[in-house]
């Protein structure tokens, strides 16, 4: 199971990233990218246990036992939730300064970018990023709180 998780988690994260980046003109977007990222983290939790992120990835010393050891990661998830909400609302408020309605979106087409050549830079990506952070933060908070019980 751990071997499978080592292979699958990066693939799931790449799929989530591609869905996040292409979400403004193809199916995809912030919500499903957030759900897939949470799925990757859920697979990590399933395979390696609830302390793996703190102890194995971040290298922090945590005491074993369920309630106190996951506190700082959960605080980080909550902060991600709040930051995502701020990004989404902020990006929705920006069009008001240009005299267009709330949540209006636009895009810029960049030509001559190396490797890609033709890139559409859409303002909806910022809103999608906010939604992504909200979904990841909220779902991971729920997951680690429920998983510790």
């Amino acid at each position: 199971m751990r071997t499978t998780a080592r292979v699958v988690v990066p693939i799931v994260l790449v799929v989530a990233l591609s869905l996040l980046l292409e979400g403004h003109n193809l199916p995809g977007g912030g919500f499903i990218a957030g759900v897939l990222t949470t799925t990757a983290f859920a697979l990590l939790y399933l395979a390696f246990g609830l302390d793996f992120l703190e102890r194995g990835v971040l290298g922090r010393e945590v005491e074993s036992g369920k309630a106190p050891s996951r506190d700082r990661v959960v605080v980080a998830y909550r902060r991600l939730f709040a930051a995502g909400l701020a990004i989404a609302v902020g990006s929705a408020l920006v069009p008001l300064f240009f005299g267009v309605p709330f949540l209006s979106q636009t895009y810029v087409v960049l030509e001559g970018v190396p490797i890609y050549g033709h890139v559409e830079l859409a303002s909806a990506v910022v809103f999608d990023l906010g939604v992504y952070c909200v979904v990841v933060g909220g779902l991971l908070t729920i997951l680690s709180a429920v998983g510790a019980e």
Partner: protein
Amino acid sequence: MTASSDPAVLLVAIDAALVVVGALCVLCSYRVIRGPTVADRVVALDAIATNVVAIAVLFALRTDRGLFVTISLVLAIIGFIATVAVAKFVDRGEVIQ
């Protein structure tokens, strides 16, 4: 090779495959409802998830819209995680330890 690239043959094959996979979903749902053990139900649900992925891919081929391939990818990932979680729950008794 001309027969395999014939659109009429391909459409008939895709329609037949859709009917077969739909019938498989119904048969698997019988096993989900009547399954004597939990493992039977889990395997049947996993088979239904795989069938839905197959339906999405066949529908993408049928309607020539690539977005359903993305849908099938996401469904496959979520079905995989669900199966792993249920298998660990049946095996160990708790999902996240």
